[in-house]
């Protein structure tokens, strides 16, 4: 067992040179080392060799799509996926003896890393009101207690049901069905904190919240822009697709505050050139933009494109597309032409020559894809930024044709599918009408709460019961102290989980841990062996079949837990056949096929090898917006600039981390080892602030509400981040993110642009 690392004690920090390439043999070695430290060689082989295969386990790690059946490698996974799946397949177990030994207040002092490292949960546990210990409880009593609490509320809106992206389509469909049958639309999800801004911007401008590209588009684009993303650590299999792009003659421009290893070079461990050669260069050009400078960059780029068209009419813009398929061009054009260059250079930290170089790349490319991740979505001006990228794509007609389009890279395995299944607090009437027609009850029509509003509601006492389906809500959410206080004010908090995390130890008066089967495990119900389905980031819906023997005989599947909870809460008069659903997931899919558009004949289509792709209206020539056309937009929004003595901080993952769970204290690619309580700062900023490498500081964020938010005990590390910008790991620095520091359209927390200062300890 690893040494527990307490939250506020920095470890022994050592540093090496940041890597200039990703993956290669070290990635294979690290993946196997971690896997074998968690479980047996047999289980490791079973998980890894079936992972992302047609009849195998869908990696719960990320939503990156799989190659077509017949095109997959024997080892179709990445380092982080291998770690993640064997983190779930671990042979370690958390038993009732563990909970007898550790009080809740003891566990609350432990880090997420330590909690995760204890192993798989094995039986339901209950923390009664007033007790400081979890105790074992039978499933019937656990579910009955939760149902009793739900029935006792004055209004169904006093409960909230959170979904994390690991949850399957079937379980997500049942969760929203249960919540609505119970009487609430309070369905926050992890999308609210990761890609809500992408969905809002794309839905408004293109009529779809989903990305428009497939793997083939990415591989055959002339130019790929990687904006605000770190594929080497957060979606490493994307590097294989980008390698193909390069081999096909495409070019790549990376736009990011940090020069991440995976943006530079990729050594594909499945190919000789990746094992013994130098691999493939990824970015042909790197623009080290300031944090949050992307809106200014794309506005300037769009201005340059308009001016290039002025200089050579008919050669730059796709006038046919603009004239026939879009609206709002004139207003957009007028606005962009007024872009102030001095402001652009201040906001981006780039030179005009660098931006003109990007323009030249664009002009030399017929087909362009723009990929992005949370480097764009977690800002106060995230939606305007993404809308401006849509403007950019529209100018040269880079939508709806092969090799081009918009690619929001979603991070969690089924985060997109969960929304498709109706996990949203604002589902349209058409969906609710279909529920009513199918099941005979009238779902509530008033909107529910998203993640931020749920936290406020819990804090204010308006929500009293919290149920989390998977995830680690407390650590994923911003404003840690406020969020934790909100959870503690609940009467009951309950979590359906595979492993222990901080959300189990920051509890309401009473708390339940409801242990569930993992994606890796065989799921047998009364109707026989079951499989679940997921939807990846490129809208392909496919199966996932568990292979391992369950970690405990007392685990229930997510579907089973929800069906039992629904029966216990709604009573015998429910019009939903929960028993049938629990016994046979195919029966759930039959209902989904009648309610969710595009899922007709779901069971038959998902039985096909590789599943089926949901069509994207944009690629079919349709823009399902209010005007029926793609919408140019006028975007304003200020890039974050810190006042003197302050910096703009972005929170990010280390390489050795999956969402809120660090596996070690190392960040191999960035050359940071032994401690996660560090802040990466430009060396010149350190000097200007009168600080030095290794100084121990408290990080204090500045926000207009007058509340002091402090992350104590961080070491300063000089790092090649742009001037005025800093970076530190979450969840440790979530405490600094004010809850209402959000994009005003999407409501997504702006965790990548926090104004901070350092106070020497």
């Amino acid at each position: 067992m690893r040494t527990p690392s307490h939250e506020e004690t920095p470890g022994e920090l050592t540093r090496t040179e940041p890597k200039d390439w990703a993956a290669g043999v070290p990635a294979v070695r690290k993946a196997l080392e971690y896997s074998l430290s968690e479980t047996t060689p047999r289980r490791t082989a079973l998980t890894l060799l079936t992972m992302n295969q047609v009849t195998g386990i869908d990696c719960p790690g990320c939503a990156w799509p799989d190659p077509a059946p017949g095109k997959r490698h024997v080892n179709e996974y990445c380092e982080n996926g291998a770690k993640h799946i064997n983190d779930e397949a671990t042979s370690k177990r958390v038993t009732r003896e563990f909970f007898a030994q550790h009080s809740v207040s003891d566990l609350a002092q432990r880090s997420d890393q330590w909690l995760n490292d204890q192993g798989r949960l094995t039986e339901p546990m209950l923390k009664r009101a007033g007790s400081d210990h979890y105790e074992p409880v039978a499933w019937r009593e656990a579910i009955g207690l939760l149902a009793d609490e739900l029935r006792s509320l004055d209004s169904p809106d006093e409960a909230t049901f959170y979904t994390s992206g690991r949850v399957s389509n079937e379980a997500a469909f049942l969760l929203q069905l249960f919540a609505r049958a119970y009487g609430t639309n309070n369905l926050p999800d992890c999308s609210n904190m990761c890609h809500e801004s992408s969905g809002a911007a794309l839905h408004e401008t293109l009529g779809t919240g989903k990305g428009t590209v497939t793997l083939l588009d990415l591989q055959h684009a002339d130019l790929v822009l990687l904006v605000g993303q770190n594929p080497g650590s957060n979606h490493p299999r994307q590097l294989s697709a980008l390698e193909e792009t390069k081999l096909n003659g495409g070019r790549i421009v990376a736009i990011n505050p940090l020069p991440e290893a995976g943006l530079k070079r990729f050594k594909n461990p499945q190919k000789p050139r990746g094992v013994v050669g130098r691999g493939v260069d990824i970015a042909d050009r790197f623009l080290q933009v300031r944090i949050g400078g992307d809106l200014a960059l794309f506005r300037a780029l769009n201005r340059l494109l308009l001016e290039a068209e002025d200089a050579a009419p008919g050669t730059v813009l796709d006038r046919d597309f603009i004239d026939t398929s879009t609206s709002g061009f004139e207003a957009f054009s007028d606005h962009v032409r007024s872009t102030d260059w001095d402001q652009v250079l201040t906001d981006t930290g780039l030179t005009r020559a660098e931006i003109e170089g990007l323009r030249d790349e664009v002009l030399a490319s017929d087909r362009v894809v723009v990929c992005w991740a949370m480097g764009l979505t977690q800002h106060r001006h995230a939606v305007p930024t993404i809308r401006e990228i849509v403007n950019f794509l529209m100018l040269r007609g880079n939508l709806g044709k092969p090799g081009s389009g918009a690619c929001p890279v979603r991070g969690h395995s089924n985060v997109q599918g969960d929304r498709t299944m109706g996990i949203w607090e604002k589902m349209p009437d058409g969906f609710l009408d279909a529920i009513q027609q199918e099941f005979g009850f009238d779902p509530p029509r008033h909107h529910g709460v998203d993640a931020v509003k749920a936290i406020h509601a819990m804090h204010d006492g308006d929500v009293k019961v919290f149920l989390g389906m998977a995830g680690n809500f407390v650590s994923a959410a911003p404003d840690t102290a406020y969020t934790e206080e909100a959870m503690r004010r609940c009467r009951l908090t309950a979590h359906v989980s595979t492993k222990l995390n901080r959300s189990h130890v920051v509890t309401g008066e009473a708390a339940l841990i409801l242990p569930t089967l993992g994606r890796t495990e065989v799921d047998v119900q009364d109707g026989g062996p079951q499989f679940v389905t997921v939807e990846n980031s490129m809208s392909v819906v496919h199966q996932s079949r568990g292979k391992l023997e369950p970690s405990s005989r007392l685990l229930l599947s997510e579907v089973a837990i929800l069906c039992r909870l629904a029966r216990a809460t709604l009573g015998p008069d429910t019009t939903v056949p929960w028993d049938t659903f629990e016994a046979d997931y195919g029966a759930i899919r039959d209902r989904i096929s009648r309610i969710v558009p595009g899922f007709g004949d779901f069971n038959a289509r998902v039985a096909e090898p590789g599943g089926f792709a949901l069509p994207n209206p944009v690629n079919e020539g349709f823009f399902l917006t209010e005007t029926g056309t793609a919408q140019f937009s006028v975007n304003t929004g200020e890039a974050p600039h810190a006042p003197p003595g302050h910096l703009v901080l972005q929170t990010l993952r280390s390489h050795d981390q999956w969402n809120t769970i660090p596996y070690t204290d190392d960040d191999r690619y960035r050359g940071i080892h032994g401690s996660r309580r560090i802040v990466m700062v430009n060396a010149d900023d350190l000097t200007e602030l009168g600080l030095a490498e290794g100084d121990l500081v408290d990080v204090v964020s500045v926000w207009g509400d007058g509340v002091e938010r402090r992350a104590p005990g961080f070491r300063l590390v000089p790092y090649p981040t742009p001037r005025g910008c800093a970076a530190a790991y979450y969840p440790e620095t979530n405490v600094l993110v004010p809850l209402d520091h959000v994009d005003e359209t999407s409501g997504q927390p702006a965790s990548k642009s926090i104004t901070v200062r350092f106070e020497r300890v």
């Binding site: 779809t208 919240g209 083939l216 997109q416 949203w424």
Partner: protein, 168 residues
């Protein structure tokens, strides 16, 4: 870049000839070198072709498609990089001239695959097409929309059925 061109007169109306040609997935029924075709999406197809023991798989993008007129494509295979156009010209109401023009940019394959061989193969396959469509005489209902610069234009305003709400 070399251009290969083959032509055949087909004894069916232009609409029939065009419609049958757009049924790409049926090509293995009558073309001996086409082993498999998948319509990945309206403007993208995947081809598995074989000449004796040599097989090659590639994707092709349809750049232009105009009903009863022409279809232009380009391959996405870096070793078999080519582009082509098949055009349909009415000779009279019951006869159509079908012309295939292929431009080869790179052709790095086994040495036996020479341009003359490719020309002979194209001519043979076009003849297979002629025999098939004249024998069948009817191609049935097919998609009649247009593609311009890779982008679709439908005849009817019927968007696909999709979950149209905002995604996060």
């Amino acid at each position: 870049m070399r251009t290969l061109e083959v032509t055949a007169e087909v004894a069916v109306p232009i609409r029939t000839a065009y419609d049958q040609w757009t049924r790409f997935e049926s090509f293995p029924r009558f073309m001996s070198t086409v082993r498999e075709v998948e319509q990945v999406r309206p403007a993208v197809t995947r081809w598995l072709i074989g000449l004796g023991p040599v097989t090659r798989e590639f994707h092709a993008e349809i750049l232009e498609q105009e009903p009863d007129s022409h279809i232009s494509w380009r391959s996405w295979d870096r070793r078999l990089r080519h582009a082509g156009t098949v055009s349909f010209t009415p000779v009279d109401p019951q006869r159509t001239l079908v012309t295939i023009a292929v431009r080869c940019a790179t052709w790095t394959g086994p040495g036996v695959v020479t341009l003359p061989l490719v020309r002979r193969t194209l001519a043979a396959e076009l003849e297979h097409f002629r025999v098939f469509i004249e024998g069948v005489g009817d191609a049935g209902e097919t998609w009649r929309g247009t593609i311009h610069d890779g982008r679709l234009k439908h005849l009817k305003n019927q968007p696909p059925t999709v979950p149209g709400w905002q995604h996060g």
